[in-house]
C-alpha cells in the first residue's frame, strides 16, 4: 500500500492523559505510572451533545481532540474519520440488559441512540461539522490493526486526510468477568496522503502471511497495558513516534495474517 504521513498523535490512557505528557514515558525518559483517567469534557461538542456523551464517547474525544488540537491549521470539516473499538459502549449494553431483566422494559431513548457502535463517529461529525466519509469498525483484539488498515485505505484511495481513533473502555461488572481486558485506553492518529510541514513520520502498511512475533512494548508496565486493551496494541507505534525513530513493527490481524508497518521519521 502507498505510505501515509502522521500529522498528529493523540492519547487518552491511564496515567497518559495526552500526547505531550505521554512522550517522555513512551520515549523511556519517565517512569510509567498508571492513574485512572479523569472524566473528560469534550471541547468541540455543543452543550446538548456533551451532556449526552457517555464515557466511551468522551474517551474517543479525548484522544481525537488531543490529536487535532496540536495544530490550528487543520481544517476539521474536511477530515474523514475511522473509529475503531473492539466492544463499543459496554456500559450501555450493561445498562440496557439490566433494564430488560427488571420489571418494565423502558429503555432510555438517549441510551439507545448512544448504543450504536458508531456513536463516537456521529458525535465527532456533529462536533467538527465534517460531512466527509466516516467508518466505525471492530476486529476484536485486532481492532487497532484493522482500524489502521481502513484509515490508510481512506487516506490513500480516497485521497483525504483521515483521523483514526482507536479506543476501548473497561467493561463494567458483571461483563468484566467475560471480557477479560479491563483497562481503558484510547489513541488517535491524523493520517495524510501527502507529506507536509506537520508530518512526523511516514507509515507503510503491508499484509503478511508468514508467522511473525507481534511488536511488544519496551517496558513491562506498558507491555501489561498493551495486553489489557485492544487499542493499546498501538503502544509500539506510539513508542517509535515518541522517540522519533524508524523501524518495522508487526501487529496481529484476524486469522493467521499479520500487519507490518514500516515507520520512517520525517
Amino acid at each position: 500500500m502507498k505510505p501515509v504521513y502522521v500529522d498528529a498523535v493523540g492519547l487518552a490512557g491511564p496515567g497518559l492523559p495526552n500526547w505531550v505528557e505521554a512522550v517522555p514515558v513512551f520515549s523511556g525518559n519517565a517512569v510509567y505510572k498508571s492513574e485512572p483517567l479523569a472524566r473528560y469534557r469534550p471541547k468541540l461538542l455543543p452543550a446538548n451533545e456533551r451532556r449526552r456523551a457517555t464515557d466511551i464517547i468522551r474517551l474517543a474525544f479525548q484522544a481525537g481532540e488531543d490529536a487535532v488540537s496540536s495544530n490550528k491549521n487543520f481544517d476539521l470539516s474536511q477530515i474523514a474519520s475511522v473509529f475503531a473499538s473492539s466492544g463499543g459502549d459496554l456500559d450501555i449494553i450493561d445498562n440496557i440488559c439490566r433494564v430488560f431483566a427488571g420489571p418494565d422494559r423502558a429503555v432510555s431513548p438517549t441510551q439507545f441512540h448512544n448504543s450504536v457502535h458508531n456513536s463516537a463517529a456521529g458525535y465527532w461529525s456533529i462536533a467538527t461539522g465534517s460531512q466527509a466519509p466516516s467508518s466505525s469498525l471492530s476486529a476484536c483484539d485486532h481492532t487497532f490493526s484493522a482500524g489502521l488498515v481502513e484509515a490508510v485505505m481512506f487516506a490513500t484511495v480516497e485521497a483525504i486526510p483521515t483521523l483514526l481513533v482507536v479506543y476501548d473502555i473497561s467493561a463494567p461488572v458483571p461483563l468484566l468477568d467475560k471480557v477479560l481486558k479491563n483497562r481503558t485506553f484510547g489513541t488517535a492518529f491524523l493520517l495524510s496522503p501527502v507529506q507536509s510541514a506537520f508530518s512526523c513520520a511516514s507509515l507503510t502498511v503491508a499484509l503478511v502471511s508468514e508467522l511473525r512475533d507481534e511488536s511488544k512494548a519496551l517496558s513491562s508496565e506498558l507491555e501489561m497495558l498493551r495486553n489489557d486493551n485492544p487499542a493499546a496494541k498501538a503502544i509500539p507505534l506510539l513508542e517509535l513516534l515518541a522517540r522519533k525513530e524508524g523501524g518495522l513493527l508487526t501487529f496481529s490481524s484476524p486469522g493467521s495474517q499479520y500487519i507490518d508497518v514500516k515507520v520512517v521519521p520525517c
Binding site: I96, A101, G122, P133, L137, V157, D177, K178, L207, P254
Partner: protein
C-alpha cells in the same frame, strides 16, 4: 472507479432462505411481516420480519463458541444458493489469504447478552457459564464466524455504522481490492431480532403498530426485520454479469438519530456515488430507497433525491416485505437491486396506499417491467452515516 464484478450472492430474510423465494415474493406482493411474537415480548404492538427456524439451527461443534441467534442467521444465510462453494472456488483460485471478509452488523449477538442477563437470579449475580462474550456479543463476532466457517484468511473486519453497515462494506472491500490487500472479498450483513432494537426504537417512538408503509401519508414508523446477505466481489472476470459501479459515503454532521431535514448528507452520498461511477443522474434506471417509513427519513431522502434526480426516476422501498433489517439492510437491498437488473422488474412500495404529497419523487405503487441497467441503493444510519451504492449490468 473501475467496477468490481459481483460474481455470487445470496440472501435470507423473513421472506425465506435464498434468492429465489425472495424474488418470488417481490413479484407476488406477499410480505414477510407478522405481528411481533419474538422471544418473550408481550408488551409491544408492532410487526416484525422474523426469519423462521433459527431456534432449531445447530452450529457445527467446531464453531459452537459462536452459537447465538446472529451467527445462526449468518450460517443459515451462508448455506443458501451455493454461496459457500463459490467462496471455496475463490479461495482455491486466489489463496485463502487473498480473500477478505467485510461484514456489517449493528447489534451483533447482543440477544445472547440479553438472555445472559435475564438468566441471573439477582442484580449482583455473575453471568452464566454458558455465556461467551467474545464469540457472540463482540461486534466482530459475526465477521470472524463467517471468515472461519468459509475458510477465508484475508483481511477481515466487522463494520458497524448502524443501518448503513452492510452498504459500507462494499466501499471498504473496494478499497481493499484496489489497494492490493486482497483479490476477492466476501461482503455481507447480518442483523437479528433482539430486545435492544425492538424496545430501543419503541423508546424513540419510531416503531409502527402496523406493517410499515414507506412514503405513505399515514406512515408512522418502521417494522424491524432480520436478515443475512452475502456477496462475492472480484476484479472483473468477464464482460457480462453484474457489478459494483460506484459508491458514495458521507456524514450528516447534524443529529444522532434524526436525518438532516433537507437530506444534505444523503445528497452528498448519492452525488459521490454518481461521481465514482462516472454516471449522470438520468443514467440511473431505478432507486431502491432507504425508505424506512419514518416521517423524517422518507421526507429527507425524497428531498435529496428530487434535488439531484428530479422527479422521474422510478423509486421504491422494499422494507414493506422484509422490515428494516438495520445492519443487514444495505446488502439485502443491493441484492434486490441485482434482481431488478437481472429480471428487468422493479418492485412497488408494498403496503403504501396514498403517497405523501410532500414526497415529490416517482414512488412506484405498482411493480413494473423495465430494462434496468443501473440501480442506486441508499442506506442511512444513526449517527448520520450515509452510503449510496450503484450496481449495474456489465456490458
Amino acid at each position: 472507479m473501475n467496477h468490481l464484478q459481483i460474481t455470487d450472492y445470496t440472501l435470507t430474510t423473513a421472506l425465506g432462505a435464498g434468492v429465489d423465494v425472495n424474488v418470488e415474493h417481490l413479484h407476488d406482493g406477499c410480505s414477510g411481516l407478522h405481528p411481533c411474537e419474538f422471544f418473550d415480548i408481550s408488551d409491544l404492538r408492532t410487526w416484525v420480519g422474523e426469519v423462521a427456524g433459527l431456534d432449531e439451527i445447530v452450529i457445527d461443534r467446531q464453531f459452537s463458541a459462536f452459537d447465538c441467534r446472529n451467527n445462526r442467521l449468518a450460517l443459515k444465510g451462508l448455506k443458501q444458493d451455493g454461496f459457500i462453494e463459490s467462496v471455496q472456488q475463490a479461495v482455491s483460485r486466489y489463496g485463502a489469504a487473498r480473500v477478505g471478509v467485510f461484514i456489517g452488523t449493528s447489534t451483533s449477538g447482543v440477544h445472547q447478552t440479553e438472555k445472559a442477563y435475564l438468566s441471573r437470579e439477582n442484580d449482583t449475580a455473575a453471568l452464566p457459564d454458558w455465556y461467551q462474550y467474545e464469540t457472540t456479543q463482540n461486534t466482530y463476532s459475526v465477521a470472524e464466524f463467517v471468515r472461519a466457517y468459509t475458510g477465508c484468511d484475508g483481511v477481515s473486519v466487522a463494520i458497524s455504522t448502524a443501518c448503513s453497515s452492510s452498504a459500507k462494506v462494499f466501499a471498504s472491500a473496494y478499497r481493499a481490492i484496489h489497494s492490493g490487500l486482497c483479490d476477492a472479498a466476501i461482503v455481507g450483513g447480518v442483523d437479528s431480532l433482539c430486545l435492544t432494537t425492538l424496545y430501543g426504537f419503541n423508546s424513540l417512538q419510531l416503531l409502527s403498530e402496523e406493517p410499515c408503509r414507506p412514503s405513505d401519508i399515514a406512515r408512522n414508523g418502521i417494522s424491524i426485520g432480520e436478515a443475512a446477505g452475502f456477496a462475492l466481489l472480484q476484479r472483473p472476470q468477464q464482460m457480462a454479469g453484474v457489478g459494483l459501479f460506484g459508491y458514495g459515503e458521507s456524514s450528516d454532521a447534524f443529529h444522532m438519530s434524526s436525518p438532516h431535514p433537507e437530506g444534505d448528507g444523503a445528497y452528498l452520498a448519492m452525488q459521490a456515488a454518481l461521481h465514482s461511477a462516472a454516471l449522470n443522474p438520468e443514467e440511473i434506471d431505478y432507486i431502491n430507497l432507504h425508505g424506512t417509513a419514518t416521517v423524517a427519513n422518507d421526507f429527507s431522502e425524497a428531498k435529496a433525491i428530487s434535488r439531484l434526480f428530479g422527479n422521474k426516476t422510478p423509486s421504491s422501498s422494499t422494507k414493506g416485505w422484509t422490515g428494516h433489517t438495520l445492519g443487514a439492510a444495505g446488502i439485502v437491498e443491493v441484492i434486490f437491486s441485482l434482481m431488478s437488473l437481472k429480471q428487468g422488474y422493479i418492485p412497488p412500495t408494498l403496503n403504501t396506499q396514498q403517497i405523501d404529497p410532500g414526497i415529490k419523487i416517482n414512488i412506484l405503487m405498482e411493480g413494473c417491467s423495465l430494462r434496468v441497467k443501473t440501480v442506486l441503493s441508499n442506506s442511512f444510519g444513526f449517527g448520520g452515516s450515509n452510503v449510496s451504492l450503484i450496481v449495474g449490468e456489465i456490458q
